[in-house]
Symmetry: C2
Subunit: 282 residues, 2 copies
């Protein structure tokens, strides 16, 4: 809550300085939740995903798009498909659903991320979510092709019912904990998703994965690499061919593992520029 | 330039308050220039583009992906292809090249956008650009398919030579003003690109367009619509099927027409949430 102070002395007597609500949402939220540009990026990603899946269903691949247990980013190997039924595996937050209610609250209070608020949101926010642009058409299209849609999220297992409700409210259909819904707490490795992916890939031929964080594709991207190294392996590594060809990224400049790095991490030292000195008039 | 004050009196005697360089780049720049997530989004977009073009080259479409002069977003019509040679048309900044030097300067000075600085950048920054992830492979692949790569940018026509150099330095090959490079000032309608697109589509069968702003696809997206209306037409309008199928979007949460809107524009009124009141202990 934001409290306006009628007088300076009223402010001074408050136990702490309260954050002031900004005049407008931060740029990242304007982009992700308000812009046509971000909507187009998401629709484009889901179009590419459905095109890819339609071909894979016609011509069954030997390998899934889930890395196997011995994989490295330099030498990726994949779980075989065999004759397993097809599935597509998605992260949930900012991949299939937009957490509009929570992010509105976050921006208005301007307090920064608060774990207690997020837990309350998981429990009570199912009515204030939206679908990511293109997501409803994509899950409908996948199911029409006979592909099982599986949700693999780091929302808490104890909140499974409320999360299934949020998914349903977003127009994405049914999610059943343990069969089509996998959550943090389902195994002993916390927010790392490789274990849950292995469980899913043991039963299904996973022909597409979607996420807004690299950890939605492999935990190997979150092994503590320097920022520039992590970006370089995405662009040039042995798994780079998978972007748009089995691995599908949704935009999220609002939170997560993408928002890291100081100036030396983000800007190469040989790409710096300053205004040329202006010549003085004689 | 950022000036540190050794004493308070030295600060007080300064003619104005100088901006202080932030400790790290803003979140949008961390995302776009530093993250693996944004790199993956860009590579994915260029993969989809090249897949689409490879099919179009094999099976010539009747229509280009450039809207015709009578088109509306509700009733889009397209310039016919006839037997014209194939082309792909791209915006330049944050579509094919990353303006690393300028954005570093912008973030460090923390002064906000400055037209004089941008003009100096166009004239002198050709050595401090990078390629958008996936762009080099895409333009190389397009040329190998016999598709002409055309650059349509709002950099100034008077800076044509320096812009062609920046494109070459980014590893994207040759750009020749008037044939493969179109700039602001080439016609009488300023930063609007429909005129230049019509000129290009008169000579070429344009089978793909790439951009980071909706104006890179049609000026109709910038007709002064409310923020939410503009986003809705992107998602649900008659041109929505083109995202990833002829029109290819690159991410840019750093600047441009996506970064607009107050709370009421960005967050639907029925999707707001607040922390439930905590029950007091009795």
């Amino acid at each position: 809550m934001v409290v306006a102070c009628a007088t300076l002395s009223a402010c001074a007597s408050a136990p702490q300085t309260l954050p002031v609500a900004p005049a407008s949402p931060p740029a990242g939220m304007q982009f992700l939740y308000g812009s046509g540009e971000a909507a187009a990026l998401s629709v484009q990603a889901f179009h590419a995903l459905l095109d890819h899946v339609a071909l894979a269903v016609q011509d069954r691949p030997a390998e899934s798009v889930v890395l196997d247990q011995n994989a490295t980013l330099e030498r990726p190997g994949f779980v075989p498909c065999g004759t397993k039924p097809f599935a597509a595996v998605f992260d949930v937050d900012e991949t299939l659903i937009l957490n509009l209610g929570f992010e509105y609250h976050d921006a208005r209070t301007a307090k920064g991320y608060d774990a207690a608020a997020w837990d309350a949101w998981e429990k009570t926010g199912a009515g204030q979510v939206g679908a990511v642009p293109g997501a409803m058409d994509a899950v409908r299209g996948l199911r029409a092709l006979g592909v099982t849609v599986i949700f693999n999220t780091n929302r808490e297992a104890v909140n499974a019912g409320a999360t299934a409700l949020a998914i349903r409210n977003a127009g994405l259909g049914e999610a059943v904990h343990g069969s089509s819904l996998f959550l943090k707490g389902d195994d002993g490795i916390g927010s790392r998703k490789d274990g849950r992916r292995a469980t899913i890939a043991a039963k299904y031929c996973v022909i597409a994965m979607g996420g807004d964080q690299l950890g939605d594709f492999s935990d190997l991207f979150n092994a503590g690499q320097p920022v520039a190294t992590r970006r370089a392996v995405v662009m040039n590594g042995a798994t780079a061919k998978l972007w748009g060809h089995g691995w599908f990224v949704l935009p999220n400049p609002v939170y997560g593992t993408a928002l890291k790095g100081g100036f030396d991490d983000v800007f190469p030292t040989d790409k710096r520029w300053d205004m040329p000195a202006v010549k003085e008039a004689r």
